[in-house]
Symmetry: C2
Subunit: 213 residues, 2 copies
C-alpha cells in the first residue's frame, strides 16, 4: 500500500482564505461556480491546495455552511438577549446579507444528503432559540400562551421577513411596506420601548458583503 494522501489541519491560516473565496463565488455566481480551480484562483493559490484542505468539494461546502451557521447562531443568541427580543428577532430575520447564500445552500440541500442534514440540524437550533425568546417575550407582555401560540408566532416572525428579503433580491417589492407596517405595529404593541426606531422604514437596506450563511 502506498502512503495515504496528506491533508491540512483545521487551524491553518490558508483554510479560512479558501472558505472566504468559496463564499464570495457562491454568492456571486452560484454553487456551480464553486470549483476547486476557481476557488484557487480567487484565493491566489493552486487548485491542488484546495483538495489538500478539503478532501472533496462536498467537504468544502459543509465546512462553509458550518462556519456561517455558527456565526449566525452566535449573533442570534446575542440579539435575543437584548431588552426588545421581538424587535431584535424581526430585524435579524430581515437582514438581506445571507439571503443569496442561504438560497444556494437550500438548492444544494435538494440533492446532497449531507448538506440537507446539516441545514436541518442548524435550523432546529436556530428555531429553538427563537421560540424560547418569543415565548418569554409574550409572557412578559401578558399574552396568554393558550390564546396565542409562541411556536406559531415564531414561524410567522421567521417566514415573513425571509420571503420579503428573497423577493427584494429579485427586485420585487409588492405589498412589502404594508406587511412590514402591520408586523411592526404589532411589535410596538407587544413590546413598547423608550425610543421607537424609525417607524415604517425597512430595516434591511441594500445588500452588502459578509460571510454569513
Amino acid at each position: 500500500m502506498t502512503a495515504p494522501r496528506r491533508f491540512g489541519t483545521e487551524d491553518s491560516k490558508t483554510r479560512p482564505v479558501l472558505l472566504d473565496a468559496a463564499a464570495r463565488l457562491m454568492r456571486d455566481e452560484g454553487y456551480a461556480a464553486v470549483t476547486s480551480r476557481r476557488v484557487a484562483v480567487k484565493a491566489g493559490v493552486k487548485p491542488a491546495l484546495v483538495h489538500y484542505y478539503f478532501r472533496t468539494m462536498d467537504d468544502l461546502f459543509l465546512a462553509l455552511f458550518r462556519r456561517g451557521a455558527e456565526a449566525n447562531l452566535a449573533r442570534l443568541r446575542h440579539a435575543l438577549a437584548s431588552p426588545q427580543p421581538l424587535h431584535a428577532l424581526w430585524e435579524i430575520n430581515s437582514e438581506p446579507q445571507g439571503a443569496a447564500l442561504m438560497i444556494e445552500f437550500m438548492a444544494l440541500a435538494n440533492h446532497r444528503k449531507a448538506i440537507r442534514a446539516e441545514i436541518a440540524a442548524y435550523s432546529e437550533q436556530f428555531r429553538a432559540a427563537e421560540q424560547e425568546a418569543v415565548a418569554r417575550a409574550l409572557r412578559r407582555s401578558g399574552v396568554d400562551a393558550e390564546a396565542v401560540s409562541p411556536a406559531a408566532v415564531t414561524v410567522l416572525m421567521a417566514s415573513v421577513p425571509r420571503i420579503i428579503v428573497m423577493e427584494n433580491t429579485l427586485g420585487f417589492t409588492a405589498g412589502h411596506d404594508e406587511a412590514i407596517a402591520l408586523v411592526e405595529g404589532q411589535l410596538r404593541r407587544l413590546e413598547p420601548g423608550p425610543a421607537q426606531p424609525s417607524p415604517g422604514s425597512y430595516p434591511g437596506g441594500t445588500a452588502e458583503a459578509g460571510s454569513s450563511s
Copy 2:
C-alpha cells in the same frame, strides 16, 4: 459567410419532451445537473438535438421557467374564482410540488440576469392576482381595508406557507402545526364555509412529480 445554424420550432413534438427531462433533472439533482448531455440521455436523444431546440442552456432554463409559470398562473386564477378564495389561496401556496424547482430557479436568479427578470415579472403577475382576490374576500367579510391592509395579508398568505413547505422538504417541522392552526382559524373566521375540510391537518401531503415551477 456560411449558412447560419438551424433551429427547431416552438410547436415541435420533441421540445416538450426535452423540457420534461430538464425539469425532472433540475428537481432531483439541481440546476447544475441540467446539462445538454444529461438532458439528452434522459430524453432518449443525442446532445446535439438539445442545442437544436435551445440555442444555449440559458434559453432552455428560460423556456422551462416560462412553461411552469404560465401553468401556475392559470391554476391560481382558477382557484381564486372558487367560493372560498382565501382558503384556495392558502392551499395553493401550501403545495410542495413546485418548491424544489422554485428554490433552484431562485438560486439561478442569483447570478443569471435573464432568469431574475423573468421571475420578477412572473411574481408581479402572481401577486397581483392574489392581492385582488384577497381584497375582494376581505371586503365580502366586512373587514375594513383601512384597518387590515389587503396587501399585507397577501404577503402573509404567501410567505408563511412557502417557508413551511421549504422547511418541510428539509425534514424540519418545528412550529408548523401551530402556525397552520393559527392561520386556518383566522381563515375559517373570515371565510366560513358549509363543509370545513379536515381541520388541523396540513394540506400539502407528500411530494410528487409534476412539471410546475
